[in-house]
């Protein structure tokens, strides 16, 4: 006979049947019925309708039946609060029962019934139970205080239960102590600033005594609590360490890791020359190693923590490399973590073994793992200089396998090796070039192009290679395009004679045919550089690159310190401070490692902690591991061209650059009058009348030789003709970008943005910045319903994944046909942005002026009629202070934002402007703007049939006029 019989139902209807059985006279039948009810409950069926019938069974001397009824009560009391009161009497009676098991059961169950009314009745029995003679009842009551606190914190404080709970820390029974600590810790978590766990040497001593005697779970609570204590001096620190060390031999891995946390923290205070310090270091290794032979889930958590520990104290595990070797049937999440730690532990002493392993892994089945293994080989090369050669040859072996993703991954890391050891391993370039055709991933293509550009002088057919990429230029991802542009410019600077055509081609592709502002900007910069000062161009483009750092993905030190204090917690698994992600933690306190010999206080900075820790999560010293696409550009920014005068006509290179501009520069050197024409011809002819050229010149007229003035101005004209096309605001006011989603809330994604109306189209313009350490992709955007039905007119176009520390500008046109819901304030917009990591929500406010349409100019007659027609109570008046414009200037300015002046009247030196505007949803707003000459305060009267927009429109006025 099994419990599955409880699931069989009859035709009459289960509930009906159960009801009858519950009300049966026979005890046995009743019990069976309650069991059936519980069985249904466990599988998620709703049996709450039976509440009164089940509660009726509560008055019984059969303990099993009583427990079953209690189980039911805990689940359903919340949904039937009034009925639950029926049970109170029995509880109160049971709390007086001579059997401690029944007393404990009653107080435990009562705490689980989360009904406000019941909690009032709970206080008295709980108070008694906290002082019960039986420790079993006391320890149950201690937990009950935590439950009650969760339901009604105020009540617990008013009733003085917290003090009673603190007293229990000194209880004679270790289990009571452990439960009191657990309850206090849980309560303290929701009250971070209360000093509930006021630890002093006396309490610490009591905890340490209880530690030896309580259950494994109790030990974890006590150890976690100990970790929050800051010892007064190194002697106390050592004595605590000595008493905690035996916990490292516990069979429960959670006890072990909590003990490791206490030791790692208190070790900071020990002088390093102390013998005990060395002993302790040695004692830490074996238990950590043993954690790795546990179940895979435990291994995973252990590995995440070991990752922190080896960053803080690499000496502990430096001889234990082998235990991190991957077994082929480890779960993938364990494999990836092991690999990470292998790289951290790699040193000259063990590099041979590590490389052999990594090579083995590179032939495994799992693609993610293989990729990471190949990448790891590259990291080894960069970390251990002596091994670089061996790493490179291993990578070459792997390239020979011709396995597509292995080859691509290898090329990406070889690029990094070239960065680290310039001019050392160029001999392999030939092999790399053989695989050019098989590269289909942007990162690998970009890396290969970088290599070709960087070593262009040694690759005979560099121009052919790069040209082959150029054919499909527009289909490439941004990172490849940028890299290709830079590489070709490098090639041109190195071999100016053969590659003029190529460079012209790429510059025009980048500047004219591309929609990507980054690409255009870089194109312009190169073009300008090449045309004004090729020597400077060479200095800039072929500048010495900063060396890349040895360690990648290191956790920033203050964050690492905080994480060490959180060993064994979720924070340690996610490598984020708890404040960054724990929900409902009202201001988690930041933990810091104690400094050695009393310097602890100076390190502590609980207030500035979060922001600093999160913002600096990406280590500043480390170059993003994913390519250095922006590297070149940054170089440019950092070392602006210094030469301004005409370049000395000497080097051969120079000649190349001149050729690029046709006779322009050439003749510039000669007669003063001629060049104007030639240049002009050139600009208009060869370069296809490129306005881009003009932009380039126009922006730095100061740096131009005088004779260039004519083409410059024509360039400028072109620029203005081009209008908004280049991305210049046309006159409509657009506020500067503000941060909408701080990186801390966006798991590393920072979004800043603004709204604009350009050529009649409403746009949202955003800068997405990846401040996390992993690549972001799969971006999408959605708006919540809003007052004017704003909605994205198309998908969010972020074509390439966003590498760490990279930013991208996106512009997304909006329409106003989305669902409408009135928001408060009216111009509030709630936005959801999704990427491969998560979905993020933020809200922002758009300037209402963006919604004023171009045909918002009302006929004079209609204006007059409408003005009269709109009732006076719809009129509202506002003051705009400190606006130093005359009425005409104001009118012009407003017109730029589609606020049209229909008539102007001057009465007693006061200008009255009558204006109209129309919102996207067809609402007309009429305005009277009064401007008194010499008075910076304007008065606006607004009339509208929908007066709720007035306030918003007024704000629009204010921002337009003041900006």
């Amino acid at each position: 006979m099994t419990d599955s019989k409880y699931f069989t139902t009859t035709k009459k209807g289960e509930i009906f049947e159960l009801k009858a059985e519950l009300n049966s006279d026979k005890k046995e039948k009743k019990k069976e019925a309650v069991k059936k009810v519980i069985a249904s409950m466990t599988v998620g069926k709703d049996v709450s309708a039976l509440f009164p019938d089940v509660v009726n069974c509560m008055q019984t001397d059969n303990l099993e039946l009583k427990k079953l009824v209690y189980l039911y009560l805990m689940n359903y009391a919340k949904s039937q609060p009034d009925m639950a009161i029926m049970a109170v009497n029995t509880f109160v009676k049971d709390c007086e029962d001579p059997n401690p098991l029944i007393r404990a059961l009653a107080v435990r169950t009562m705490g689980c019934i989360r009904v406000d009314k019941i909690t009032e009745y709970l206080c008295e029995p709980l108070r008694k139970c906290l002082k019960d003679e039986d420790p079993y009842v006391r320890k149950t009551a201690a937990v009950c205080v935590a439950k009650l606190h969760d339901i009604n914190a105020q009540l617990v404080e008013d009733q003085g239960f917290l003090d009673t709970l603190k007293d229990l820390i000194s209880d004679s029974n270790p289990m009571v102590v452990a439960n009191a600590v657990a309850a206090l810790s849980e309560i303290a978590e929701s009250h971070p600033n209360s000093n509930l766990l006021d630890l002093n040497p006396q309490t610490i001593n009591k905890l340490l005594t209880a530690l030896n005697e309580c259950t494994e779970w109790g030990q974890i609570f006590i150890l976690d609590c100990l970790a929050n204590y800051t010892p007064r001096d190194d002697r106390e620190s050592q004595s605590i360490c000595e008493r905690v060390t035996p916990r490292l031999s516990h069979a429960n891995s959670a006890v072990v890791l909590s003990a490791v946390k206490v030791l790692m923290k208190f070790m900071e205070m020990l002088p390093k020359d102390l013998d005990y310090y060395g002993t302790l270091l040695k004692k830490l290794a074996p238990p950590l190693v043993t954690l790795l032979s546990a179940e895979p889930e435990l291994q995973y958590v252990a590995l995440r923590n070991i990752n922190l520990i080896v960053q803080r104290r690499p000496e502990i595990l430096k001889h234990e490399m082998k235990v991190f070797f991957v077994k082929y049937n480890d779960p993938i999440y364990v494999k990836l973590e092991k690999l990470d730690i292998m790289i951290r532990l790699a040193s000259q002493a063990n590099i041979a073994q590590v490389l052999a392993e990594l090579k083995e892994y590179a032939t495994e089945v799992d693609v993610d793992f293989v990729r990471k293994a190949v990448r790891a080989i590259g990291r080894c090369a960069i970390k251990v200089e002596q091994s670089a050669e061996r790493c490179v040859s291993t990578l070459l072996d792997l390239i020979q396998t011709k396995v597509n993703y292995v080859v691509q991954e290898a090329i990406v890391v070889i690029k990094d090796i070239f960065r680290k050891y310039p001019n050392k391993y160029e001999s392999v370039i030939a092999t790399l070039c053989e695989n050019l055709d098989s590269l289909d991933e942007p990162e690998a293509r970009a890396a290969m192009i970088w290599i070709v550009g960087e070593y262009a002088e040694r690759i005979d057919n560099a121009d052919e290679l790069l040209e082959s990429f150029l054919e499909g230029f527009h289909d490439e991802s941004t990172q490849v395009q940028l890299q290709l542009l830079t590489a070709i410019v490098k090639l041109f600077l190195k071999k100016p004679t053969e590659t003029q055509e190529l460079v012209q081609q790429v510059l025009s592709l980048a500047t004219q045919d591309s929609d990507n502002p980054d690409l255009r900007d870089r194109g312009y910069i190169y073009w300008r550089l090449l045309s004004t000062d090729p020597v400077a161009a060479k200095e800039v483009v072929l500048a010495e690159k900063p060396l890349i750092s040895e360690e990648t993905d290191l956790i920033e030190p203050t964050l690492l310190e905080e994480l060490i204090c959180h060993i064994g917690t979720l924070a340690s698994v996610y490598h984020k401070p708890p404040s960054a992600f724990v929900e409902g933690s009202r201001g988690v306190q930041h933990k810091r490692l104690p400094g050695s010999a009393g310097s602890g206080e100076s390190v502590e900075s609980p207030d500035t902690g979060t922001a600093a820790a999160v913002a600096s999560e990406a280590p500043p010293a480390v170059i993003p591991s994913q390519g250095d696409l922006l590297g070149d550009l940054l170089n440019l920014d950092l070392t602006p061209p210094t030469t301004t005068g005409p370049p000395p006509p000497s080097s051969g290179l120079q000649m190349g650059a001149m050729d690029l501009l046709g006779g322009g520069l050439d003749s510039l050197m000669g007669d003063e009058s001629e060049p104007v024409i030639t240049s002009r011809d050139r600009l208009g002819g060869d370069l296809g009348g490129s306005p881009a050229m003009g932009t380039g010149f126009g922006a730095t007229p100061a740096a131009m030789p005088a004779s260039f003035n004519a083409p410059v101005s024509s360039g400028l004209d072109d620029l203005f003709d081009l209008g908004g096309g280049v991305g210049m605001p046309m006159g409509a006011y657009s506020p500067p970008k503000t941060v909408w989603l701080p990186a801390m809330k966006g798991k590393g994604l920072e979004i800043s943005g603004t709204f604009a109306r350009r050529a009649g189209v409403i746009q949202i313009e955003m800068t997405l910045t990846n401040k996390a350490m992993s690549v972001m992709s799969d971006f999408a955007i959605q708006f919540n319903r809003n007052s004017f039905g704003l909605a994205p007119a198309g998908p969010l176009q972020v074509l390439t994944p966003l590498s760490p520390n990279q930013s991208i500008e996106v512009t997304l046109p909006l329409n106003t046909v989305g669902p409408v819901m009135k928001m408060d304030p009216l111009n509030n917009l709630q936005v959801a942005v999704k990427n491969n990591i998560d979905v993020f929500y933020f809200s922002c406010q758009y300037p209402i002026s963006m919604l004023f349409v171009e045909d918002g100019k009302m006929e004079r007659q209609v204006f007059l009629a409408t003005w009269k027609d709109i009732p006076n109570e719809n009129e509202s008046q506002f003051q705009i202070k400190d606006c130093h414009l005359n009425s005409d200037a104001a009118s012009n300015k407003l017109q730029g934002s589609n606020i049209f002046t229909i008539a102007k009247r001057t009465v007693d030196g006061q200008d009255m402007l009558y204006q109209s505007m129309k919102l996207t949803n067809g609402i007309w707003v009429l305005a009277e703007l009064r401007v008194q000459a010499g008075n910076p305060n304007f008065t606006v009267s607004l009339k509208c049939r929908a007066p709720e927009v007035s306030q918003c429109v007024f704000q629009g006025y204010e921002t337009v006029l003041k900006n």
């Binding site: 059969n62 189980l71 689940n75 989360r114 995973y300 077994k327 933690s585």
Partner: protein, 418 residues
């Protein structure tokens, strides 16, 4: 702490849920199902998942997922350990931990869960204590209960619950007093293609079965305790004495328990009992391959290797095999691509060999990966680390117990790369 628990089978049905605080809807499991979908293999589902409002910590055991829902910052190891303890308890009560067994005993399981955790804090996890509060089902008891209206729930406070030795109940009485210890060692090793040991270590465990009356106080000592690198003990072992004298001194729980786990690491030389000569080749053309495996004894300390078994996960392209073993039997599951060669006893005079051809999907490219070989074996009467128990003494009781120590060595994660 632990908010809720969901038990989920491999096909993704939730068949039991228990909430220790307020009820959390099942929809929270959707995040887990999403991850499960992504991971393909159930073993590869990440154990810690983050959702907008909760954390999900999961273990995969006995083809079941134990999924716990967490709302605040906790120690994930704590939760994982506890989940394993739940699985252990179910196993202990009903002999196995499977969906059928849990469904058949759903009310008992539910009662157990309630007894193990209070408000998310572990309450009673020692099997001894639990069994006093909720009696494990036996056929006899259920018959008696039906007749007498008795119950499975103990109505007395378990005696061990609060004493300083919570693992032992009072008043134990046996007519035959006996104490048996099994020293079980597992070799974890990775051997590379050329036969060189890349990595090897020994995980040891001493399982005890102690049925002694009263309150016996035992002392177990070793001939060579210095072998042990890292040890973890059952809570009953007095750590101070181990530190000082390297002996295990303890008042044992009643019945079966794990006395200690230990670890003999790669710092010491680990004996590898067998060698494997193998070649697995796939040809560029003809879509076939060859396999040839021979196993021989290496360091067996004069004992016989039994239960020898080789498991190979073949590349996906391998359709079928045509292999002849000189000993034992060989099967290939073309669905899971697992080749199993069950050899049995290793005869040093006539080494077992498996050879033949592998046929592959026509037109498939030559597999890129080299399959690894997993070796299973067993050696009776030997602890491969050389660990030896020297004596077992009993104090505190007058009777003379039967004593016995058994050694066995097994292959743990023993892999040979090809």
């Amino acid at each position: 702490m632990i908010h809720s628990l969901f038990l989920i089978n491999q096909s993704g049905d939730i068949f039991l849920e228990k909430h220790w605080k307020s009820v959390i809807g099942r929809s929270v499991c959707d995040y887990f199902f999403e991850a499960k979908e992504k991971a393909v293999e159930p073993e590869n589902v990440p154990p810690v998942l983050q959702t907008p409002h909760h954390y999900l910590i999961t273990i995969f055991r006995g083809k079941l997922f134990f999924l716990s829902v967490i709302q605040t910052e906790v120690s994930p190891l704590f939760v994982i350990e506890f989940l394993h303890r739940i699985a252990d308890t179910i196993q202990d009560y009903f002999g196995e931990c499977s969906e059928t067994v849990i469904k058949d005993n759903v009310v008992t399981v539910y009662e157990l869960l309630e007894e193990m955790l209070d408000n998310g804090f572990p309450l009673a996890t020692e099997s001894n204590i639990l069994k006093e509060m909720i009696k494990p089902p036996t056929i006899l008891r259920s018959v008696v209960n039906t007749l007498t209206g008795g119950s499975n729930v103990g109505d007395m406070l378990p005696t061990g619950q609060l004493s300083n030795i919570p693992w032992r109940r009072a008043g134990v009485k046996y007519t035959n007093n006996e104490a048996y210890f099994d020293v079980i060692e597992e070799i974890d090793a990775i051997v590379d293609k050329s036969g060189t040991t890349v990595f090897a270590e020994i995980q040891g465990v001493i399982e005890a079965c102690v049925r002694l009356s009263g309150m016996p106080d035992l002392t177990l000592s070793f001939m060579n305790p210095s072998l042990l690198d890292d040890v973890s003990f059952h809570p009953c072992v007095r750590f101070k004495r181990w530190e000082a004298e390297r002996v295990l001194s303890f008042i044992p729980p009643d019945g079966n328990f794990t006395l200690m786990n230990y670890h003999v690491s790669s710092q010491n030389v680990v004996a590898i009992p067998v060698y494997v000569k193998q070649s697995i080749n796939f040809f560029e053309s003809g879509s076939c391959g060859r396999l040839d495996i021979t196993i021989g004894p290496k360091q067996t300390m004069g004992k016989t290797v039994e239960g020898l078994m080789v498991t190979v996960h073949m590349p996906k392209a391998v359709l079928s095999v045509n292999l002849t073993p000189t000993q034992g039997s060989c099967t290939y599951d073309s669905a899971t691509k697992v080749l199993v060669w069950d050899i049995g006893k290793l005869n040093p005079q006539k080494l077992p060999n498996l050879r033949g051809s592998l046929s592959m999907q026509s037109g498939a490219p030559k597999p890129e990966e080299n399959p690894s070989l997993n070796i299973d074996l067993k050696i009776q009467q030997l602890a491969i680390s050389g660990l030896k128990v020297s004596r077992l003494d009993m104090y505190g009781e007058k009777y003379k117990p039967f004593k016995g120590v058994k050694y066995v060595t097994k292959a743990g994660k023993f892999q040979v790369r090809s």
